[in-house]
């Protein structure tokens, strides 16, 4: 049985700066990384593989250089990867993205019975948390978001027991399969690639599926198929703080002052 895990290559947002003049993202020289949430989706797929013997395929929609990120998936032990890359996919919003991903998953599911699609909770650049649910809806999969533990999988009855992490509580759910899971970061600690696996992954082929393979209507994908347009990206203006007290000569008094100020602004609870 098959697990498809969805991975997005994102800019390392801690290194992204906003251009103060144009108020747009300055992405030059910013390295790309695997979306941190997706490292946990990947790890959970591999753990399920270790526990139940699933075949794991990692897919990503992105530019041709996203193969680097897929190679990282190979280096930790996925069986196969597919890169979904075509100019026609570019500029996609969550609707168009989930359409392409769903189509690719459906193709993979033709060869092997689909058990799970596993996504990260959200990305660190788009932050919508919609792509996973979008895939589930299109493919009519059970949809279990914010999973922080996979308790058991019954391969014959095709049912899985999962725990969801919600605000202040947990929810234990039993789901039919195939199911789409999005996972939170607490679910696991990702493994570290060994050198032999890294070397093998470095020259493994990364198959690319473009729209000739998927054959989707170009009006429904990429920029054209995206009802959402991001008009402007900007960082909110932060007010400059003030320097209070004299930390060098009166550290205790200054600390008191600071605490009072924070209480005043209701930033501290007593």
């Amino acid at each position: 049985m098959l697990i498809v895990t969805c991975i997005k290559q994102v800019p390392d947002t801690t290194q992204v700066k906003i251009d103060p003049v144009t108020n747009t993202l300055v992405r030059e020289g910013v390295p790309f990384i695997m979306n941190p949430y997706d490292t946990h989706a990947l790890e959970e797929s591999l753990r399920l593989k270790d526990r139940y013997g699933f075949r794991v395929v990692a897919i990503s929609m992105g530019p041709p250089n996203a193969d680097v990120t897929l190679r990282k998936a190979l280096a930790v032990g996925v069986d196969e990867v597919v890169l979904l890359s075509d100019r026609a996919f570019g500029g996609a919003d969550t609707l168009a993205t989930s359409k392409v991903l769903a189509e690719a998953i459906a193709r993979l599911a033709k060869e092997d019975e689909l058990a799970f699609v596993i996504c990260g909770q959200q990305t660190i650049d788009g932050d919508t948390a919609q792509v996973g649910p979008g895939i589930a809806t299109r493919m009519k999969l059970a949809q279990i978001t914010l999973v922080d533990r996979v308790d058991s999988v019954d391969l014959t009855a095709k049912r899985a027991v999962l725990r969801r992490k919600l605000e202040g509580r947990h929810e234990l759910v039993e789901s039919r399969m195939p199911a789409m899971l999005t996972v939170v970061r607490e679910i696991n600690r990702p493994r570290y690639p060994t050198v032999p696996m890294r070397l093998a992954a470095a020259d493994a082929p990364v198959p690319i599926w473009n729209n000739e393979v998927l054959g989707l209507d170009v009006q429904t994908i990429g920029l054209k198929g995206s009802p959402t347009k991001v008009n402007k990206i900007f960082s909110p203006q932060r007010e400059m703080g003030e320097i209070i007290g004299d930390g060098t000569h009166d550290p205790d008094g200054t600390a008191k002052l600071l605490i009072d100020r924070m209480l005043e602004k209701d930033l501290l609870a007593l």
């Binding site: 801690t14 290194q15 050198v195």
Partner: protein, 661 residues
């Protein structure tokens, strides 16, 4: 009658058995990888003379002189025993008696006296083990007592034989040999015995001597006293580089990464395990062993030996090892907890009288765990990911490397700059260490030297990565840094951190770049000596200096920081363990990035030692030491009365007002 034929037969059997045991054991060493331990022959011979024959390291510790006495007696008596065998086999036809009288008289005088020295030394050794056993040796080990008893037995048999023979001569009315005073005295004990009884006693003691000697020979290869055979060569074969930089790795597909079984070690590593004297000195100085961690370098070497003996035969036949090298820590395996406890401080190697290289072995095992198995304490994954993605341990954005000089006039390094100031990750990101960095910047400007920084292009030097066994990422990091050095024209580097210093200086050489690297304390010493730093010396309270392992032990820099401190008017106090014998702060070997869950804390041990000097200031020369000492002071509630300062900060405080910014 001494029965020369029977004795000859016994000698042949013993010697054949001994040679066989040696071949069986030493052949196992050949499963290891090659390692060049012959080049620089002259230095090696010298090292052997100094450390094996001169016992330089042995005598540096209590009871070392005792060992010196036993060692030299042993060499001298080897001659006596050789004669014993030859004369025994030839029915006394060939012996030293054939030599001119003065020569053999002198020889026998020597044997006679030395044998007494040996008895005294052996009794001292036994007494020490009984009455004041040091905690770092297995004082009452059977092995030790068997050997000590055998040597004692040999001496008794020696005097018994010669005493009885002498008594027989006297009974015959001949003179005693005046050149064997002790044996002559022993002869007195036989006085009054019937002549044939004396004869029997002489023969009896002679055979006792023969049996002990031949047993001893055959016991050696199976005991810790195998070091009698291996210690001298081990001093010849020792690593001649000051720092035990680990070998580079070829990242080809069919290679192995790190050491997972004894085949991965070099033959010298395996030979080391045969050379251990179980003296326990490494254990005595090891910060891990001293704070209740499951690492004991002596045990590591012992387990390695057991592993070689257990797996060697199968591996020689091309088979698979049966006993894992990394395992439970019992019966010839080394536990992961032990492997991860090492701070790479190098104290074990500094203490070992026979130059066993414990630390690099542990680090090679780490490599295997990280690179081949992906197994390591879980907190390290963040460190590894951060290093790989953002080129620093904390995972802070590289752009923030420039933050410490946001309000200072610091120039980027270009081809006209003399020194690259390699700030280091701690120096650029750690709030406390940034103060040291700023102090250094002021000092460099005050001295008017030409210096610059790489800013956001600087990457971690990779020290912790390498010591933690992540050679793959280290390798990449080094090549990237070297590219930057080459394109920017860097030739001279001054570092704030001893780890950057040692890594850039020693490890980077393996990557084909020769840099002139200098630690800030050395540069400050030079600047002061050249009169370029306007310092006004002033008395300071009680200041105790803590040596960094990577400066003092790994790079032999102990004078520079002290000279600099003296120039500021400080009179640094010394802890009992200082200079090359310094005790680690606990942060080296990548331990900085790991939890210290086992045993007690290394830094509090060291801070307690420092506090015994009743200091106002603990002075350091390393950002890791700075953190560890400050944390240690907090742990023992002394942070509000004792300050921790870097040498550079103390110098900056004493720059003459005129040049202060």
């Amino acid at each position: 009658m001494n029965h020369p034929k029977i004795f000859a037969l016994l000698v042949v059997i013993s010697v054949v058995a001994f040679i066989y045991s040696c071949i069986v054991r030493f052949r196992l060493v050949s499963v290891g990888k090659p390692s060049d331990r012959i080049s620089r022959f002259g230095e090696r011979v010298w090292s052997m003379l100094l450390y094996a024959f001169g016992q330089k390291r042995v005598v540096s510790r209590p009871f070392g002189l005792n060992h010196f006495a036993i060692f030299w007696s042993f060499l001298v008596l080897a001659l006596a025993n050789a004669e014993f065998v030859v004369s025994g086999v030839t029915g006394k036809a060939v012996s030293f008696m054939l030599l001119p009288h003065p020569v053999y008289a002198a020889l026998y005088l020597l044997f006679d006296v030395i044998s007494v020295v040996t008895i005294v030394a052996i009794l001292i050794a036994m007494g020490r083990r009984f009455f004041c056993p040091p905690k770092f040796i297995d004082a009452l080990s059977r092995d030790a007592f068997i050997i000590l008893t055998m040597i004692l037995g040999l001496m008794i048999a020696f005097f018994g034989t010669h005493g009885a023979e002498m008594a027989a001569r006297i009974a015959e009315g001949k003179n005693a040999f005046h050149y064997m005073p002790v044996s002559s005295a022993v002869a007195g004990l036989f006085a009054g015995m019937a002549p044939h009884a004396i004869q029997h006693a002489a023969v009896g003691f002679w055979w006792l001597h023969a049996v002990i000697l031949l047993s001893f020979l055959n016991y050696l290869p199976y005991s810790k006293h195998m070091h009698i055979l291996t210690a001298i060569p081990n001093c010849f074969l020792r690593s001649l580089t000051q720092v035990n930089t680990l070998p580079r790795e070829a990242f080809t597909k069919d290679a192995t990464y790190g050491v997972g079984d004894i085949k991965g070690f070099t033959w010298k590593d395996l030979f080391d395990s045969y050379s251990c004297t179980e003296c326990g000195r490494c254990q005595d100085v090891c910060p891990a062993a001293n704070t209740g961690k499951p690492l004991n370098p002596k045990q590591v070497i012992h387990d390695l030996k057991l592993n070689v003996l257990a797996n060697g035969p199968a591996l020689l036949e091309g088979g698979k090892p049966g006993v894992p090298l990394i395992g439970t820590g019992e019966h010839g395996s080394i536990s992961e907890d032990a492997i991860w406890s090492c701070t790479s401080c190098g104290a074990c190697m500094e203490a070992c009288p026979v130059f066993i290289e414990q630390m690099p072995k542990l680090l090679m095992l780490r490599r295997h765990l990280v690179e081949t198995e992906g197994k390591f304490p879980e907190e390290l994954i963040t460190f590894f990911e951060n290093s790989e993605q953002r080129s620093n341990p904390w995972g802070i954005a590289p752009a923030e490397r420039t933050k410490w000089y946001a309000n200072l006039d610091v120039k980027p390094f270009d081809e006209h700059t003399e020194y690259l100031f390699f700030v280091g990750c701690a120096g650029a990101f750690d709030a406390r260490s940034k103060q040291v960095t700023v102090a250094l910047a002021h000092i460099f400007d005050a001295a008017g030297i030409s210096w610059g920084v790489l800013g956001r292009d600087e990457k971690c030097c990779g020290d912790s990565l390498r010591r933690l066994g992540n050679e793959y990422v280290f390798d990449r990091m080094v090549r990237e840094n070297i590219d930057t050095f080459k394109t920017r024209g860097v030739k001279k580097i001054v570092t704030q951190c001893p780890h950057c210093f040692s890594t850039l200086k020693n490890d980077y050489k393996q990557f084909g770049i020769e840099l002139e690297v200098i630690h800030h304390t050395e540069l400050l010493q030079q600047l002061i000596a050249a009169g370029k730093l306007p310092i006004s010396a002033a008395a300071q309270g009680r200041l105790v200096f803590h040596d960094s392992c990577y400066l003092a032990r790994h790079n032999d820099i102990t004078e520079a920081p002290r000279a600099v401190l003296a120039a500021t008017g400080a009179e640094p106090l010394e802890m009992p363990r200082h200079g090359r014998e310094s005790f680690c702060c606990g942060a080296g070997g990548g331990r900085m990035w790991m939890e210290e869950n086992l045993g007690t804390r290394i830094n509090t041990t060291r801070v307690t030692e420092a506090l015994a000097e009743n200091p106002d200031t603990i002075c350091v020369s390393c950002p890791y030491c700075l953190t560890m000492m400050e944390d240690g002071l907090k742990d023992v509630d002394a942070f509000d009365r004792v300050h921790v300062k870097d040498v550079a900060e103390i110098v900056a405080e004493h720059l003459r007002e005129a040049v202060k910014k």
